[in-house]
């Protein structure tokens, strides 16, 4: 299942969790669990957009990072140089 998920992700598109769930024939919850596991093993990483205090005074500073969406991206090489194998 994880291998199928990874090969879907390697196609290089942007997808939502329900889309992945439909393609794999499982529930969105299971997809979220798999994404978290892949992230903990260094195959994916979570991206968080943040203004980090730069937007003080901007009337729309809360609109940052597209409405609080959580985004994951694939690491074609594990970002920690192979440490992914250690499970964290």
């Amino acid at each position: 299942m994880l291998e199928r998920l990874m090969s879907l992700l390697r196609e290089g598109k942007t997808r939502t969790v329900p889309e992945l769930a439909r393609e794999l024939g499982v529930t969105p919850t299971l997809v979220e669990m798999m994404l978290e596991e892949l992230a903990s093993r260094g195959f994916l990483y979570a991206l968080q957009g943040s203004c980090a205090g730069h937007c003080e005074g901007c009337p729309l500073q809360n609109a940052c990072a597209a409405g609080g969406t959580r985004i994951w991206s694939i690491s074609f090489a594990p970002p920690d140089g192979g440490e992914g194998r250690t499970g964290k």
Partner: protein, 686 residues
Amino acid sequence: MARRANSPLASCDCCTPASADNPLPTGTITVALAGQPNVGKTTVFNLLTGLSQHVGNWPGKTVEQKTGFYACDGWTMRIVDLPGTYSLTANSVEEQVARDFIIRERPDVVVVIVDAATLERNLYLLAELLHLPARVILGLNMVDVAEQQGLHIEPHVLQAALGIPVVPMVASRNQGICELVRTIVGLVRGEIPYAPRRPEIREDHQQVLASLEEIVGPYVPSPYPADWVSLKLLEGDSEITRLVQERMPQEAWEQIQSILHRHEDAVLAVAGGRYDWIGRMVRAAVARPRAGHITLTERVDRIATHPFWGLVLLGAVLAVAFWLTYAVALPIQRWLGSVVVQGIAEQVGRWLAPAPGWLSGLIIEGIIGGVGSMLTFAPILTLFFATMGFLEDVGYMARAAYVMDRFMHLLGLHGKSFLPLFLGFGCNVPAVMGTRIIEERRARLLTILLAPLVPCPARMAVVAVLAPAFFGTRAPWVSGGLVFLSLFALALSGALLNWILFRGERAAFIMELPLYHIPNLRTIGLLVWQRLLAFLRKAGTVILAVSIVVWALSHFPGGTIEESLLGRLGRWLSPVGAWMGFDWRMIVALLTSFIAKENAVATLAVLYGAGRESLPALLRASVSPASGLAFLVATMLFIPCVATFTVMRQETGSWKWTLIGTGFLLLLSLAAAALVFQLARLLGGA
């Protein structure tokens, strides 16, 4: 029945009294309670053990250890409450404690308590437990909550699929506890069949596992099971890897490493096997696995995130947002401009009649003209903030951004430059910071230069204010057109960037979109109020200061605007402005907009002498539609705000690149403005 008096179950009919057929006592059973945090594990423990609990620490750890006793059918049950864990990797002390207890103490039974409402998440722990040397019972807790959420679980089907006993329970209401006790005793006595179906791994990986076990076997310390140790090695478990490496000769360890290196993907196969298994169990035993509101979200998303209809919907939503803003707020803005601000200016003019000319000029043209004109646009901003707040609160903004991704794909823009640009729809600052995911410096710099082209809500708000100043009732069309022009500029430069720099490079993104929900008027009201307050604060500080400086520079020396410093600078710049149809006042307004976009309005108001007359009337009298449109295009494409500029400096780490970026955006915005002006003039807009 030695210690039953201590248990709240004393009155329960769980255990059969001693008789000739049922002799006493039989012995002691160790039962470990496992489970994720917040699944009701402690409730079960308290129900069973009552006052017989002993609380201490696990040897050498700061994790709390709770033990208690329960007696039934002549068996004394020693019940150990394991720490709440999500899995059994060596990631946390709790997980290590839990798995070490099962491996070293070998409890007779492990009861894993799961929350039926989140069965899938809970089954992961069970998938790992089944590989350990213990008999496992599944305590399916909170079945009432699951039913309320529309999840119907068939315990018998689940039991058949898992091959282990499953006991449905509602521990909070003391339901199912007796059944659990009977199942524990029955399992120990061998009266209940136990044939667990464990998660499997693919055949080729099973061979890898076998060869690992063969090499590792002689070095695995007791009481660790060799097959489990091999599995954990394949998974890359840090604790087990260290344990084995310490005990193995270098040569054998190198053999292991070479196998692991050749089968790096095995980690996915091992963990993936668990998800296959969870998927199978849920499909078998759970009816209607989706709750009602998720289905609604999915149904709406079929249109909202559709490659074509999603874009149509986004266009329609933006059009309605702008139309609503102008339809309601424009009449109020006109009234504020022509009645309130002009009225105040005239009254102040009468009061200041005896004062020197420069003072009445500063107050009427500089402050009332600049800040006052800007404030007449507050109703437009209020409505714009309210529509945006509504879309945010409903959960649509994330979809809008997702649909933009499809649009960018259509134009060939994808890969790593996508994410920063995607974040830009919320705010350009995280967009510039988001370029950190691009390793290559050249590509990163270019993406930083492009990020400010993404139309952020703050810039749309400025366009919402500027467009009616130039175009009155035609503003909705102009505003909508400007947003699309900005997107087009972004897609074009992005596609070019991608073609030159990221050719062939792939990047995947997965988005977890929030659920839709009914908007909360209080939340939106608060949001609008906070944003309006921030705008008013800006009007009272930055815009006020810039208005005064612009007025002073346009008044001194000489007392007339033509002889002033700004007038001379403007005349020097006017040949450049001619290309775009800007007079020198518009160029100065564009330059002051760098400090805060809203300054463009205030500066125009000061330089065109608003105060005694309303700014839109003045602009429409002296600026042609072609020039006005070109001015809006330049404002839309130029650097959005000082915060973005500061972050560009921080992220590029060089003033040179920040200035090059600013210069590029200035050139691009002026070139686009010139193009729009010339085109509009040809079409008769001059």
